[in-house]
Amino acid sequence: MSEYQEQAPPRLFLRFFRWYCHRDYLEDIEGDLIEKFERKADQTDIKSAKWGFAKDVIRLFRPGIIRPITQTQQLYQLDMFKNYYKIAWRHILKEKFYSFINIAGLAIGITCCILISFFVKHELSYDNYHQKLDRTYRILQEYKSGNERATAPAAEDYQVWGNATVGPAFTEEFPEVDQFCRFTPGHNKLIKVKDELYDEKNIVFGDSTVFDVFSWELLSGNPESVLNKPNTIVLTESLAKKYFGNEDAMGKTVIYSQDVLCVVTGIMKDVPANSHFTFEGIISMGTFYNQRSWIFESWGYVDFYTYFTLKENANMESIKPKLAGLSEKYTGEWEDTKFYIEVEPLKGAYLNSVAARQPGKTGNKSSLIIFSIIGVFILLIACINFINLSTARSLERAKEIGIRKVVGARKFSLVNQFLSEFFLLTFFAGILSLLLVFFLSPYLEEFAGISIKTDDIFNIEFLGIFSIGIIIVGLVAGSYPAFLLSKFQPSKVLKGNFKTGKSGVALRKALVSFQFVLTITLIIGTATVYNQLTYLQEHELGFEKDQIIVMDFGYDGKVQENIEAFKNEFEKTPNILSVCASRAVPGNFFPNAGTQIENPDGKLENHSPAIYEIDPDFLSFYNIKVLAGRGFSYDHYSDSVDALIINNAAAKLWGYNNPEDVIGKKFDQWGKTGKVIGVVDDFNYQSLHTEVGPLTLRFEPYSMAKFSLKLSTGDIHSTIANLEDKWNELIPDRPFTFYFIDDSFDKQYNSDEKFAQLFSSFAVLAILIAFLGLFGLTTYTTAQRTKEIGIRKVMGASLRSIVILLSKDLSKLLLLSFVIAIPISWYATQQWLEGFAYQAPISLSVYIITAFIISGIAFGTMSWQSIKAALQNPVDSLKNE
């Protein structure tokens, strides 16, 4: 033996030769080499023979001998691939049911992923179109009074909404600042165009720098000068169309607030949907200045959103330390209040900003993360289905694999074959999911305002990511079954006593449990979200909101002067039970007011609570409970001059735990001084996301903007028609607008509703996919045990015992999944609920219902198959042996 080894040519060179030599020449040239080697080893010594062999191998390494890298190999590969696909096709068609489950499950998973990624992409794209985004910032402000005024406010206490003076001060004090630009909120504005009245909610005042700071596109007009004069207005395309139809709006006149004529100096494209701040028109800031110039000098009057850009190369870090100095310089002499300034970048403000009083909608980072996780979950569940079904069905392919191996297939080519088969399935799923995306895109638009156009799909970026995604999904779902299948040993397989390995079964069980865990978590999540929303809707708000409509007259002076007469007129309308007037109504906009009230130590203390300006009917109209003192009354003539009502939260803020104690204390607010006459219960004037904050209410006839009317449960349509007639008769120069207060209050939960709907539809999809998989799997495992069932029946087993036998495994898995899923989902839902000040108690019923649903569906799926199997006549299952 050792002699033979010594005689052998050097292995390394032989292997090298075998590697590079052309397959057709390999055998005879190798023979020649060995013959020469052996002869030389005989004639001289082994060493020089080896040396000669090595030399020959190296000299043979030349173009005529080396195998081509591609040509012949490729031909051979292509033929094999053709064969693989042919076989794959046959399998797909042969097992239509399993192929359908596989493809449908994957397609749904991929569709969810695509839709969610469009959603995520949309959320991340907010404001990104501004060219100066990287150096655009916005100013946050907060006034702090009372004992804690020396501590800087928390990030969520800062407001985006602030005074008009800080912007100019920035450009004056900081050389780094390039331009500032202010907007006012788009409160109701009365617009008259060609004798037609419009109540516009989204026209703002804006500085002339707007088109320099932001990259909104002007279609006509000079971006530098469109807004630099008073009485000018820029309209968006759609608003121009609304006012002027197809005429050219440029140079036309629009009347704002009855008597202010504004010339249209520019038409801009509509503000893109992915903007944190949107409006339909901008009236020049100079117009506002002419109306109320003192606002522009006041550091205490709040009505503006201020943005600014830095000069190129300037650094925000150099400004930050100087902010406190700026505030000190302009507001240092304030005795009881301290003014705080903060800045935040516009980039990412939509998602990241926690400041209060945002100019528009804000994104929700956590729902973004939740949806991304759900997308991954769904895809995982679909992949697991795929793995489960493919490994479960591997027995069927065992013979094929055995034969292929005997004929000479290597493991590598078998892996190739199965992978390409799975890729084919994934590819179909991908195509199907694209179709689904097209089909579902209108729903996404409705839910999230994201439209998916063909352009969004048929571009290189999307298709590239899509194909890579498909390949990854194919690999994730296909590689385990492919490697498992290719490992089969032909001798065992072909003998016929082959069983899938124990490890395969364990893995399958683990994957099914994992699927269950994900589905249970999603179901519990859905149940919790709905539970919370119902809780919010049914929560006692502390005021009446049913059958109440609100009509807005926009601070109209003529109405304010005769407010009681108007109230009486409306009350006379049929089906109207009562009427009250106020500046704000629950669930809508309200301002804050710097307020001083005497604290228990007898000193005036300053805070900035919310303020409601109401008439004496307001409290009884909305059924708000008076805890101490009394409400406003027409009998007390001085109530509109020197009386203030506060809510319980405000009483606590000023240090009175017993509401009785604050009655009769002195107050000073917005130019009014007098005594606190009453304390009302905390009613939720804001959404239940937040606790009831401190609130002050005062009787102010000349600040009214809205009528609230209570309807009897009669014919609402005719009542409203009557009201409109009355309105047009009494207030002809204002458009008639109304809304139901419960609708408008519940609108605050719109985004929660949408979240719930999206969440539950994805959860349903996930459950659907998981159970498709479970169904396929049980069908298969039951089929595997047909003979066993047959024999058991022959021996006398009852239907019940067979069903129990078949369901035993599943029950164990379900139980295990529950044990794992409950803490996970408890933690996750707890996190979500923290966003609400009023949380529905976590009820056991959520978990019990989930348990019932999931076991119901799981056993339903299972027993469908097992009962069918158990009912089968054993003769049929046993005869063909």
């Binding site: 190798e30 023979g31 060995i34 013959e35 052996e38 020959d56 043979l60 001998i65």
Partner: protein, 109 residues
């Protein structure tokens, strides 16, 4: 004529294959060339030429039986095709024509 161009080494290999008739496989060809021409030939050089000639259809080849020597590898026996013979003959005639055209005196010194 140029399409039948044969290199010197190619011509020698073809001739050696012709000499060996049914015994012309790699090592035998090398042995024959070494003994007749006193010329060292490597397997690499020879095999490249053999494959090239086969590709040009001057040669054809077939496997012999496997034996215990040579590590159990079969020999590949080469033989001239009719076309190969024709080309060889043509080359020989060209040479002869050239020789006959050489004047006697050219070799006189």
């Amino acid at each position: 004529m140029s399409k039948h161009h044969l290199g010197e080494f190619e011509e020698i290999v073809l001739l050696t294959v012709a000499i060996l008739r049914d015994e012309a496989y790699g090592i035998a060809i090398i042995d024959e060339m070494e003994s007749r021409l006193k010329r060292k030939v490597s397997i690499g050089a020879l095999q490249t030429v053999l494959r090239r000639l086969e590709k040009k259809s001057y040669l054809t080849s077939e496997f012999g039986e496997a034996t215990k020597i040579r590590g159990g590898k079969r020999k590949r026996f080469f033989s001239l095709t009719a076309y190969g013979k024709k080309v060889l003959t043509e080359v020989k005639e060209q040479r002869m024509g050239l020789w006959s055209a050489v004047p006697e005196f050219a070799f006189s010194y």
